[in-house]
Amino acid sequence: MTRLIVVRLIQLPVIVAAIFMITFACAWMIPGDPLARPEAQRPPQEVQQAMRREYNLDSPWSFLGAYVKKVVTRCDFGPSLKFRDQRVNDIIASGLPVSALLGVAALIVALHLGLAAGVLGALRPGSAVDMSSLAMALIGVSLPAFVTGSVLLVVFAGLLHLAPVGGWGTPRHLVLPAITLGVMPAAYIARLIRLGLADVMSSDYVRTARAKGLSMRRALFSHALKVAFLPVLSFLGPAAAAVMTGSFVVEKVFAIPGLGEHFVNAVLNKDQFLILGVVLVYSVMLVLFNLIVDVAYVWVDPRIELS
């Protein structure tokens, strides 16, 4: 396992660098001048050129060189070109914990809901409980986040006054957004668990154990679930990606000051530094999370060897 971790940690900068270069190339090609201030008097051409030199925006190579140096030596992602009195580090520092917390909460909701629905269905296959949990899973996968979120908001915050109307700051603010974001991965997890359990429960060794007197409950929880959980574990990697990038919509619906909106708006604003900073942070997080998932995979089932 140590070897796995070390190899992955060596691969991390390579993967991140590749993502960075592709993003940089695309961002550089976006039309428009990020330094332009349409409301002010346009400066003469030479001054505009000089201003671009100030930010190293005159040539892609000088930008790359200066940028990489600043990031590597001082972890300084530069100034935001749209929000002129903010630095990218500050924007990320204010938005990342919010989005990360929302993401973790959503995944936990997903795991709990998904496991519960999947296990309940597997305990009574073919019953009303099983059918309804499968139906809920289908709905969960089909409904987009802005529909789920808006409905939850209107019902629980607007009508029943059980939850705050959007915003951020207390644990109560986390509930509805986490549910909204977690519903889709929950649906996938429910399906995976349900099918996995059905599979394992009909395998020879479980049937033998049941024949020898083991109760359904024990068979499921002590034996089958461990095996059925493995696909869920490997699903957590892409689930984390979906949750991180999908947070933009939920943040918009619930007025949450996360990083998601910058991920999208930075491109529209051609805010070079913010685009690169956010992409770097997201890609490092995603690669690390996938590493954690792989390690957990091996740890949970020692039979598995990841080559």
């Binding site: 002010a40 201003m51 100030e54």
Partner: protein, 579 residues
């Protein structure tokens, strides 16, 4: 059980994170929701409404606008006088006017701030508002040329940049009509008489900054030679201000908390001690927050949104529709040839007038505006400028019959052997409902004039570029006045004006504007400006469509002294909220 442990660990992580990220959203005396984050809080740089709103709370200019009367009253200056020639203003600063750190507000703070606005280095959006100070425009252009030469030579020499800066500061002192005979006296000499100068003095660009703390936070750029201000000077821990409030806390894209400035001279008159601005981009959430009682006032519901239309049609008492000092209109390209070299059919004012006469403004405001916007027949909105009566009679009323006759007279009548009017297109920026109005207008033109017009929707910055370069035939546009005077609308069509997107040029019009600028008698001046607008409306370089309106949602019974008005003048420090 290992997997169970894994899940429990995850639960603990969340619980821990929840514990450390807990923070109670604070209440304040006045809570409102702003639709967007802030670009700057620097008074010399702000141009956006939501930035100006906050700047007005943090900084105090020489004079302020008294509401609801909309007259000038003393603020940082306790008295002021103007010479008979209307050129020289003398302000006496209030001895009790203080910065938040206790320093007295001095005339050199004002001169320093106005110099910042007049230097092209800062790229202030409203630097041209200071060009009316004697020598202001010349200084701006001179410094611009200095920087241009530096950038061209690619000198990249800090000592040289410093030398140029020193030279510029010296030149400013010598050539620009600003002087401070003592710490409490400010003398301003204008390039020509400006009847609305005191109004401009109330505007953000004319606000002072605390020179002692702001000046050291600027440094020279070796690449461009510009003096670049460290934008962090407006952070809560660094900002020193002279207005009714201090910047207590600012959380990016989240909220902004203002608390009463203990050193503000007029603390006793304030109606509240704290203001919380919550930043919520989603108007539906903003409305839910308001209805849940968490928020007192919603000034930023977008007027093009369905939500706005629903609020107005519901006839709620707390929804206040205020006519704005702005006009939604269409530009007609008035140049002889189009950018691609083809002859411009719109160069003939008869054609433009015919098109304008075939716009059914009533239908547009009823079905597309839906907020009770007044249809516009003049460029200066009716009722916006007290003492000025826009020439509505000179506007283009809906009369397709007369329009067809005009077109025929201009040679565009296919039935009589004339040309078919073709090649027209409407340029607009996407995403704000402009395409609906454009579709309505093209349909009406097709129906009554039998012409085909294509629609050309572009992304906002591309749209803006094309407008600047006159790269359009017809375009959608909007304009808000910056100060309470007809010239804020009419100057736009002066031949050399930067914002003359239609490229309209009429020597008589320009002459009238010039005459008005030199006229000291207000009544005569208004008459001259009215005559100019009549000429412009006759030529229809633009087709005014409707007057903008603003939505303000608040309970009049609880929120007092808000006084919404067409000009977005605000005195938030006087607002009182009863719980």
């Amino acid at each position: 059980m290992r997997w169970l442990i894994a899940i429990l660990v995850l639960d603990l992580v969340l619980a821990g994170a929840l514990v450390f990220n807990v923070g109670e959203a604070q209440r304040a005396d006045l809570v409102f929701v702003s639709g967007g984050g802030h670009k700057f809080l620097d008074p010399q740089l702000v141009t956006w409404l939501d930035d100006i709103r906050i700047t007005e709370c943090l900084f105090e200019p020489l004079v302020r606008i008294k509401l609801p009367e909309m007259v000038i009253e003393p603020a940082a200056a306790e008295s002021y006088s103007v010479d008979a020639d209307g050129l020289t203003y003398t302000f006496q600063l209030r001895p009790t006017a203080r910065w938040s750190n206790g320093d007295p507000v001095t005339s050199s703070d004002f001169i320093f701030a106005w110099r910042r606005a007049l230097m092209p280095d800062s790229a202030a959006g409203y630097s041209n508002l200071l060009w009316l100070i004697d020598g202001g425009e010349e200084f701006f252009k001179w410094r611009q040329a200095q920087l241009q030469a530096y950038a061209k030579d690619e000198k990249n020499n800090l000592a040289e940049a410093q030398r140029l800066l020193d030279e510029a500061i010296e030149r400013f002192g010598k050539t620009v009509g600003l002087s401070a005979p003592d710490d409490r006296t400010l003398v301003v000499r204008l390039a020509r008489p400006i009847p609305y100068f005191l109004q401009l003095c109330a505007f953000a660009t004319y606000m002072p900054v605390h020179r002692a703390s702001v000046e050291p936070q600027a440094s020279l750029s070796i690449d461009s030679g510009r003096l670049v201000q460290d934008p962090y000077w407006t952070r809560p821990d660094r900002l020193i201000c002279n207005g009714p409030y201090l910047l207590a806390r600012r959380r990016f894209r989240r909220d902004l908390l203002l608390t009463a400035n203990p050193n503000y001279w007029n603390r006793a008159a304030m109606g509240n001690r704290s203001i919380l601005e919550r930043i919520v981009t989603n108007p539906s959430i903003a409305l839910m927050l308001y209805e849940s009682g968490e928020v007192d006032w919603l000034p930023d519901i977008p007027s093009t949104s369905q939500l706005a239309a629903d609020l107005v049609s519901a006839g709620r008492r707390d929804v206040h529709v205020v006519p704005g000092a702005g006009t939604y209109f269409y530009n007609f390209n008035c140049q002889a040839t189009l950018p691609d070299g083809a002859v411009n059919p719109l160069v003939d004012p008869r054609v433009r007038r015919a098109l304008s006469m075939t716009i059914d403004r009533e239908i547009i405001v009823k079905t597309l505006g839906r907020l009770g916007q007044p249809p516009a027949y003049t460029f200066t909105p009716v009722g916006a400028v007290p003492g000025y009566d826009p020439p509505v009679e000179a506007g283009a009323r809906f009369d397709p019959e007369a329009a067809r006759k005009l077109l025929a007279a201009a040679g565009y009548d296919p039935q009589q052997g004339g040309n078919h009017l073709e090649g027209l297109s409407i340029l607009y920026n996407t995403g704000f409902g402009h395409e609906l109005i454009a579709q309505q207008i093209t349909r009406t033109w097709k129906k009554h004039l039998n012409i085909d017009v294509t629609l050309n929707g572009q992304e906002k910055s591309v749209f803006g570029d094309r407008l600047d370069n006159h790269n359009f035939i017809i375009s959608r546009a909007g304009w808000f006045g910056d100060y309470v005077d007809p010239t804020t609308f009419l100057d736009k069509f002066e031949s050399s004006n930067n914002n003359n997107d239609a490229a309209y040029s009429n020597a008589e019009y320009d002459q009238l504007l010039k005459q008005a600028a030199a006229e000291l008698d207000q009544a005569k001046r208004m008459k001259l400006l009215r005559r100019a607008e009549v000429i412009m409306l006759h030529d229809q370089p633009i087709a005014p469509i409707y007057q903008y309106v603003e939505l303000n949602v608040y309970d009049e019974g609880r929120v007092k002294n808000l006084n919404p008005n067409p000009w977005h003048f605000r005195r938030l420090e006087l607002v009182r909220v009863e719980r």
